[in-house]
Assembly symmetry: C2
Homo-oligomer: 496 residues x 2
């Protein structure tokens, strides 16, 4: 239904985005924020029609999609508020000291946008990490035009969202080229977008293979550009002894829910649970298996994802010393898009020796690793690759008494949870949705929370400028009333 | 005199750095700051001996080296102060909202160190951008051990500085492996350092060829790591008409000084001056040439740099439509390390058509570009690659009346100067020493000022942790009394 956008058209769109950049970056923070809020209003105005199309394209249930749209609007509004509030600009002023030898000039610094940002929509979040999702919102707040390559699995949904954004752009008198929408199922479209000379940054949420390819292209350019690719995780959960002893039943119930939530199609899905051989661990595995048996399979996003799930799961189960604990006992309906909840188990030794078990099986699957002792559990933590999240199920005693494990886990994750589940990514400033490679291509940035804006900006210092010619953000009188660091002191006061 | 460090020894040092990282990152901000200040004291304690060795190795004059050591100590002290003050940690707290649907958990975020940082010392700043220089200071403040590859052109100087750092480490009870010093003239040493699995970031100041090679290696690793390479610039200076008319003599005198300062061996040296054909521009070129004739050649850092300077300068002067304006008239002393101050000129058209003229000629050389009008000058600005600095010599009228030029220049530089010279990089928070590629490999970071710490840290979010188990930076009572964002408000108050 939707043909790949021709390369000549992509080049044209990138040129328009480049022109739009020069106009858009000069607009005020308030104008950017108004535009973002208007997109939220237009998304709401899409009404039920948008939800129905998304249901058809993604197999996601209505309540989930309504929730996700609300979350997407919340993202737009909260990043708009952060944009306007201006702390993220890191405005800094060092006033002149003419008596110094040599004299210290007046120097003022703030963050400015990089230029057009190419966003690759994710399949598993058709709203929140897609066309009008977090990357788009952050780029608009930063002052950057956005060119989105919509995910082919929900092209119709994306097209409706595109129209909402373009309506908002018209209402807010945004420059032509502020937003463009590109279709692509081929390798060439993605490559043309990343390699275009006017592309200045890339945002991506999806698979390791996809994200790493974009990263490699971006670094092979004559002018390399930053890529923030969030590439998923196995999100290890460590069951510490005292906590497991006290609450194995509750943990099993909680995790049966987390593993199968949304048919396991979250990048924060707990795909790895690590415990120490004990009766409590046996009970936990038993209870988790029982619970999983009672959970109905669900339709996955599309047949490709279901095939990948089944293939990776089968491969994991074929590995030496890996055993199936339980699968959903619901009878098969023969639907090839179904993902069947599954729990496996293996020893710590098997896990340490087999890299296949470290790979993500995207879907409602988790493997419980049985370590022989805390020392082996710590070894497992040390051998894990970078993760978006890691979780400890632990009493305070467990944490205090197992410092080596805690430090090893801290070193490999972006978000460190105690006694909870990793699924559910709260949208707030303190959230970090990122992590060491291969969870993302740059552990220094996040794709959730207003700090995600910082992926798409760079500092510029103004030296010896007249006050009247400086950007408002840096004028003595602080007309925007933003937080600034003046001679090393954070303040909202004007410069005297 | 100094053999390349064997690869096995490098591997051993990296392992020690990795172990040191786990101890060092747990030390308090105050302990890090004390260590940094002690390094400053030990550098001072090196006394005249250090200056004498550096003079012998670099041909830099005594006053310059004394000044540079003082600057290096100032860097250590001021980044230590920033480290302790803690605003750079970007501590952020969102408290739980249990009534929200779904409930909002308690989430707190701060920046934590990446791991061992490999620093490549620069040849042109044996102290300030070398062994105990800005990259090293930022890494120590961040909580990262440092492995330095000293620049072979001043290995003895670097060895003395190494000893000062190790003395400070012993005095402050730093973990073994906190700092290591590596010699290398070969390709293999640099590659082994960048490719080592325990290396988590790289800092570099030097040539495009060197920096780009490190960047490429780092991105070819199984786990890519961030590289901040500052690779120099031609630092364009735009002479706007009203200002040039009013002050061509003063500008010529000021720039004759800036072009030849330190025998032109600064990454912020103004290698390109752009004006519009006019009598005033002719006078300026004449006066600049006259002034350059009166400036004595100086000995460059080493013969390799002098050869490169002469080769690149000759090549530039051979380009079509490029003319020599003036050279220093001091008689040659036959010293092969000498760099002769030189001014060339070409038309705007020649510059726009010839990429050779966009390349850095590292040394006391600058080319004056004569544009036919403001429109051509703006084209020149648009065609420039990324720059550390750009300068306008301009009246307020010039700036207000030439918005297109000003915006084009702003888009390609890291520091934007009005009516000054780019040489002289003030060490303060508002300084930005960075810029779009190829000035650096990542325009989002700086290598001067305490924000340089941010190259070597990543966020981590703590979700649902007991107050007593959180790092001090994130505890309710704010025991370190640092600035934090609590529920979206910047404050030093405790969390109630």
């Amino acid at each position: 239904m939707y043909n790949d956008t021709p390369i000549e058209e992509i080049n044209q769109l990138m040129n328009e985005a480049w022109n739009a950049f020069h106009a858009y970056r000069k607009l005020s923070l308030k104008q950017r924020a108004d535009f973002m809020r208007t997109i939220g209003v237009e998304l709401e105005n899409c009404g039920d029609a948008l939800i129905q199309v998304a249901m058809k394209e993604t197999n996601l249930p209505e309540a989930r999609l309504r929730g996700e749209r609300a979350r997407t609007i919340f993202q737009l509004n909260s990043y708009a508020q952060a944009c306007e509030e201006g702390t993220w600009l890191e405005a800094s002023i060092d006033t002149a000291v003419p008596d110094k030898v040599p004299p210290k000039p007046d120097i003022r610094k703030m963050l400015v946008p990089l230029g057009p940002v190419v966003v690759f929509g994710a399949s598993n979040f058709p709203f929140a990490y897609s066309t009008a999702g977090g990357d788009t919102a952050c780029a608009f707040a930063a002052g950057c035009p956005v060119i989105i390559k919509c995910h082919p699995a929900h092209a119709e949904t994306s097209t409706i969202v595109e129209e909402a954004i373009l309506k908002a752009a018209t209402k807010c008198n945004m420059p032509k080229g502020i937003f463009a929408h590109v279709y692509g199922t081929s390798f060439e479209v993605g490559k043309a977008l990343v390699m275009h000379t006017h592309t200045k940054a890339v945002g991506f949420t999806g698979s390791y293979t996809g994200g790493k390819q974009l990263f490699d292209w971006a670094n092979q350019r004559k002018e390399p550009i930053p890529v923030f690719a969030e590439m998923g995780s196995i999100n290890p959960v460590f069951l510490l002894p005292e906590k497991l002893q006290a609450a194995s039943k509750d943990i099993a119930a909680m995790y049966a829910g987390s593993i199968t939530l949304g048919v396991g199609q979250f990048c924060t899905n707990p795909g790895l649970i690590i415990g120490i051989e004990s009766e409590a661990l046996q009970s936990f595995i038993h209870d988790l298996g029982k619970a999983i048996q009672q959970i109905a399979p669900g339709r996955m996003l599309h047949e490709g994802i279901a095939n990948a799930y089944n293939g990776k799961k089968e491969n994991a189960l074929l590995q030496e010393d890996v055993h199936l604990v339980a699968e959903s006992e619901y009878p098969s309906d023969g639907d090839r898009q179904t993902g069947v909840p599954t729990i496996a188990t293996a020893t710590g030794k098997a896990f340490l020796n087999n890299p296949v078990l470290h790979q993500e099986v995207f879907g409602p699957y988790s493997i419980v690793i049985r370590c022989k002792d805390m020392s082996e559990m710590t070894e497992v933590a040390k051998h894990l690759e970078g993760q978006l999240t890691a979780t400890l199920m632990a009493t305070d005693n467990d944490i205090v008494n197992n410092n080596k494990l805690v430090e090893a886990v801290k070193n490999i994750c972006g978000r460190f949870i105690i006694n909870g589940v990793p699924t559910g990514v709260e949208v707030c400033l303190s959230m970090h949705h990122g992590g060491p490679f291969p969870a993302t291509t740059d552990s220094r940035f996040t794709s959730v929370g207003a700090d995600g804006i910082k992926r798409f900006v760079r500092p510029i210092a103004f030296q010896n400028w007249s006050n009247s010619l400086l950007p408002d953000e840096l004028k003595n009188e602080n007309p925007l009333h933003i937080w600034r660091t003046v001679n090393n002191q954070l303040t909202k006061e004007k410069v005297s």
